[in-house]
């Protein structure tokens, strides 16, 4: 259902289904397709919507319904298609481009962090069987985490993660030196366990 044309355009073939996609990301389409701003991220119900409102983790999604071909792109960033087989993908809400029908989206509490920043306290999750298209500023590095090899990531470069991962926020003097006092986050994301983390070659 999802395929890429080049590395920056997602092509969605619709034959009667509804696909959720980032509102405003349509650059062209052929056929008979209607676009409607989705009321909710979908699936999580009222409680999820309230939580979303409270947390500020906002999903600006639209519903695309009909039969035809839709071309999606966002700010010339790379598009990556992730296949989920009963797994859960944790993704920064700003990195979500499109979600195949049948997948559930929700908001999840992702742990305490050390510094005050608007990002990272809550994360969007996508779970079930199907394809998810995520956005990455530049082709992402797909990095493996094993119990022997934990990974530390700059939150500004973090895109998404899947697998059995524990995520913690690390603040130390060394990290603050590395990212600079002005811009950048004062904490780092540390992943332990077993899974895969997507990191983009650019800071948000």
């Amino acid at each position: 259902m999802f395929r890429r044309q080049g590395s920056k355009v997602l092509v969605v073939d619709l034959s009667g289904q509804t696909v959720k996609a980032l509102a405003g990301s349509m650059v062209a389409y052929e056929g008979d397709v209607t676009f409607k701003k989705g009321a909710m991220g979908g699936g999580e119900g009222l409680r999820g919507a309230l939580k979303r409102k409270a947390t500020g983790e906002s999903l600006d999604l639209m519903d695309m319904t009909g039969s035809g071909t839709v071309y999606l792109a966002h700010r010339a960033t790379e598009v990556e298609v992730v296949d989920l087989r009963g797994e859960t993908l944790r993704v920064e809400s700003s990195a979500l481009l499109a979600v195949a029908p049948g997948l559930r989206t929700a908001v999840e509490f992702s742990g305490l962090r050390g510094a005050s920043s608007g990002q990272g306290l809550f994360t969007t999750t996508v779970s079930g069987d199907g394809q998810v298209a995520v956005l990455s500023d530049g082709p992402p590095l797909v990095l493996e985490v094993t119990p022997q090899t934990p990974l530390v990531v700059d939150p500004d470069a973090y895109v998404c993660a899947k697998g059995q991962l524990q995520q913690s926020f690390v603040t130390d003097v060394s990290w603050r030196d590395a990212v600079g006092a002005g811009g950048g986050e004062a904490y780092s994301l540390r992943f332990e366990g077993s899974g895969v983390v997507y990191v983009q070659p650019a800071e948000r």
Partner: protein, 216 residues
């Protein structure tokens, strides 16, 4: 005589020789070797709706002509560069400020793509933002156009292709462009305010779409 050649996806290398001058967006010259001179000239004259004038159409951006003999590299603000070769059979319509450089021997004219043609349509379009001023390039030669992200070339023919005006780069061939507002369109293109319009292309040819819904 060799033509335009991409050095990479953001830089084009162009030969300049007597009788083969090059017109380029001002500020787009990256480097050159040889004996090349650069002079400012005004942009293409508005064809359709000539009275509207350049100021209104946003065509005021002056061009630079390069003459002499040598090799010039052009690029602009890190944007992707897409080459189109015209063999004389068809013309390229491109949004005017996306024109990076082209052979000076090509003919250019400003054309308004809008709901209504002519001066009234153009004036109304310029005021409401409905429609686009494009430069129509015809003749034999090379054209380099700018896009945010890569360029997607979609064939037009059979069923129409609908394009977000922000992502529209240009089109080639016998293509009809209709500008219209549509219900639900704003959800798709995400404009905050104003009447959201769409470009509906039909006929036979192709449309160039950039991999971004944001103009540069």
């Amino acid at each position: 005589m060799p033509g335009f050649a991409l050095v990479n996806h953001k830089v084009v290398s162009v030969p300049v020789a007597p009788g083969r001058e090059v017109l380029a967006k001002r500020g787009a010259m990256l480097a050159y070797s040889g004996d090349v001179r650069f002079r400012p000239v005004s942009g293409p004259r508005p064809g359709l709706g000539g009275l509207v004038g350049r100021a209104l159409s946003g065509e005021a951006a002056p061009l630079m002509v390069a003459d002499g003999s040598g090799q010039v590299s052009y690029g602009y603000a890190g944007l992707a560069v897409h080459l189109v070769h015209l063999d004389g059979t068809g013309s390229l319509s491109v949004e005017s400020d996306r024109l990076l450089c082209h052979d000076a021997g090509l003919q250019t004219a400003v054309v308004f793509l809008g709901q209504q043609g002519g001066v009234r349509g153009a004036v109304r379009g310029a005021v409401t933002g409905q429609g686009l001023f494009t430069t129509q390039v015809s003749g034999v030669g090379d054209v380099a156009v700018l896009a945010h992200g890569g360029v997607l070339e979609l064939p037009v023919g059979g069923r129409p292709v609908v394009v977000d005006p922000q992502a529209y780069v240009g089109h080639v061939g016998a293509v009809q462009v209709d500008v219209s507002a549509s219900v639900g369109w704003r959800d798709a293109v995400g404009r905050g305010s104003g009447e959201a319009v769409q470009l509906r292309l039909s006929g036979s040819g192709s449309v160039l779409v950039q991999a971004s819904e944001e103009r540069f």
